[in-house]
């Protein structure tokens, strides 16, 4: 009922004090935009980092040969522990909760040739389940290595995105031949482009994969370069790692507690670290933004104090005519809310505009895509609401406690 009166009075005041209103609203505008943009960019950067990190694989463990550091069953320390493909089969069979596992043979400088084009390339031998673990996805016309390739030791090859480009350009590569050290391999698949910021040995986009059985038969390797495995559930990674030490410890006679015997890179630990790091980072950004907004709120509160001061006479008149303290209070609270609300909406729109414009600058490879998620919006609105409430409350209470007799004497 009285809301209309409040609103019309608010706009009258707004018109009569244009510069002051503008500066006040600007403080809130800037604070809101800061909160939202900082949180949105923080989220975008985190998502980008996570995606790039997972480009190598999600929650995988990579295992390399190591050397023993504890004497065990009469065997001295510093003994090299290497593993064969047969060991990987045993691990797959004997370690509880082993999800997927694959050996990896690596030839760093194979000579690749297509027609007359020659190129040094990295060729790896692995099992079919290597691809899903490492987020290697075949494009629509392709497939990765399969069990039949393995069993028949086929000479088939799967190419990384960039390698395919270098060998075939924009032409279709499926079904064509790539000569690896003079031996022809048929291309069965090409990888979908992916972001990857972590690697061991090189980026997947520059690599090629053939069946491990083919690799072993052709190049006569006894030992694998490394093994990639993943627990069937991310919470079991630790127990699977323990199982690997036990099984291999029994086979190669080393102490299962001898961490040095195998070199493990557990990416889940890193993922956890990054998760915590980015949470802290975003809280930090959010706090900076929130303080910007709070400073804006202090500005609003100051202005409202001045407004109350200026309108003391008016408050006195209204009180004499029967306005209750509650009415005076709500008038100023609502006015503050409108000021902060206008600033907040403008800030929100500005942030939204910035966030929608950013992708057109092609910067997603560096900072990802900022995103105003629901949680960001809710967080910003909550901070804004609290700021509006607090900055309005004190001046409004002062106004409502005004003594009408003294106010009228002015």
């Amino acid at each position: 009922m009285a809301l209309g009166v409040f609103v019309s009075q608010f706009f009258r005041d707004l018109r009569s004090q244009k510069l002051r209103t503008f500066l006040t609203v600007f403080g809130i505008f800037w604070g809101t935009a800061s909160v939202i943009l900082l949180l949105a960019f923080g989220k975008g950067i985190h998502a980008h980092q996570q995606k790039a990190f997972r480009g190598m694989g999600e929650y995988i463990v990579i295992m390399w040969p190591g050397r023993t550091s504890i004497p065990y069953q009469g065997l001295g320390r510093n003994r090299a522990i290497r593993f064969r493909e047969a060991d990987v089969e045993v691990l797959k069979r004997d370690v509880p909760h082993m999800g997927s596992i694959s050996p990896e043979y690596v030839m760093w400088d194979a000579k690749g040739r297509v027609g007359k084009l020659e190129k040094l390339m990295r060729v790896q031998g692995c099992w079919p389940e290597f691809a899903p673990m490492r987020n290697i996805i075949p494009d629509a016309t392709s497939r990765f290595l399969n069990d039949e390739d393995m069993a028949l030791k086929r000479r088939v090859i799967f190419l990384g995105t960039d390698l395919k480009k270098e060998l075939f350009g924009d032409e279709d590569a499926i079904g064509r031949m790539v000569f690896v050290n003079g031996v022809p391999f048929k291309v069965i698949g090409v990888m979908v482009k992916k972001e990857q910021d972590s690697s061991y040995g090189g980026r997947d986009v520059n690599s090629a994969w053939i069946p491990s059985t083919t690799f072993k038969a052709m190049y006569g390797r006894e030992y694998v370069n490394d093994v990639v495995f993943k627990a069937d559930d991310i919470t079991r990674t630790e127990s699977v790692k323990k199982g690997v030490y036990q099984v291999l410890g029994a086979r190669y006679k080393f102490d299962p507690d001898d961490k040095e015997a195998l070199q493990l890179w557990d990416t889940t630990e890193q993922e956890k670290f990054f998760g915590t790091f980015f949470m802290a980072f975003r809280v930090f950004l959010g706090v900076i933004g929130a303080f910007t907004l709070i400073v804006g709120g202090i500005g609003v509160s100051n202005i409202m104090n001045v407004v109350v001061e200026e309108r003391t006479k008016e408050i006195g008149i209204k009180m004499a005519l029967g306005a209750k303290p509650r009415f005076i209070m709500s008038q100023f609270v609502i006015e503050t809310f409108m000021l902060t609300g206008i600033g907040g909406i403008l800030g929100f729109l500005f942030a939204w505009a910035v966030v929608s414009v950013v992708p057109s600058f092609k910067v997603e490879d560096y900072i990802g895509t900022p995103e105003i998620s629901r949680s960001v919006a809710i967080a910003a609105m909550m901070v804004l609401g609290i700021v509006g409430m607090l900055s309005g409350y004190f001046p409004a209470r002062r106004a409502s406690q005004c003594n009408p007799i003294e106010a009228l004497r002015l």
Binding site: R12, K313, K318, L321, G322, K324, P325, I405
Partner: protein
Amino acid sequence: MSSNGTMVKLSGVRKIYDTGKVKVEALRGIDLHVRRGEFMTLVGPSGSGKSTLMNILGCLDVPSEGTYEFDGQRVDRLPVSQLAEIRNRSIGFVFQNFNLLPYSTALENVELPLVFRGLGAKERRKRAAELLEKIGLGDRMEHKATELSGGQMQRVAIARALANNPPLLLADEPTGNLDSASGREIVDLFENLWKAGHTIMIITHDPNLPMRTERTIHLRDGRLEDGAAG
């Protein structure tokens, strides 16, 4: 409404201002009866406690001692929000300096008491327009207060005082800021309102005004001199 016809009954009212160092006794025991429908003036030199008495009568302030019965209800110990309600419904104020909201229109000014009463916008507008018509300002409704002459402003203020049709009108030097012609018009207006049944009390030091009213009481040094019991 009380049946005995008493509008205002002050008994032993004192008002003491305690500034910490000095105590100032502005009212030193006031007994006053005002009957419903009376038209009276309260006169006294400055410093006599007129304003203090007016504030207490208008429920803007409460006495330090003594009792105040307004329209049959004890009001001397009421909380601020209930006092506000009494001011809104039962008392119409007219001030020396008009006290209109300067940037609001005549209509909006008259609507104010109706806003505090919680009336809807349409009703408010209708009632305010009627009142402005009645006091002869029908053609000035959309004028800002600052665009009106002194006499017109005071008439708007009277219309505002009448908005909730209160039984008591309190006017504090209503002609003090007006030229004599406008002042006469205002007094005429009060007289008409009195004839229409309002209880009216004018506080003034204008010696000519008391001649127009039924009853005059004199305040000196915080005490009533005569005719107080009514």
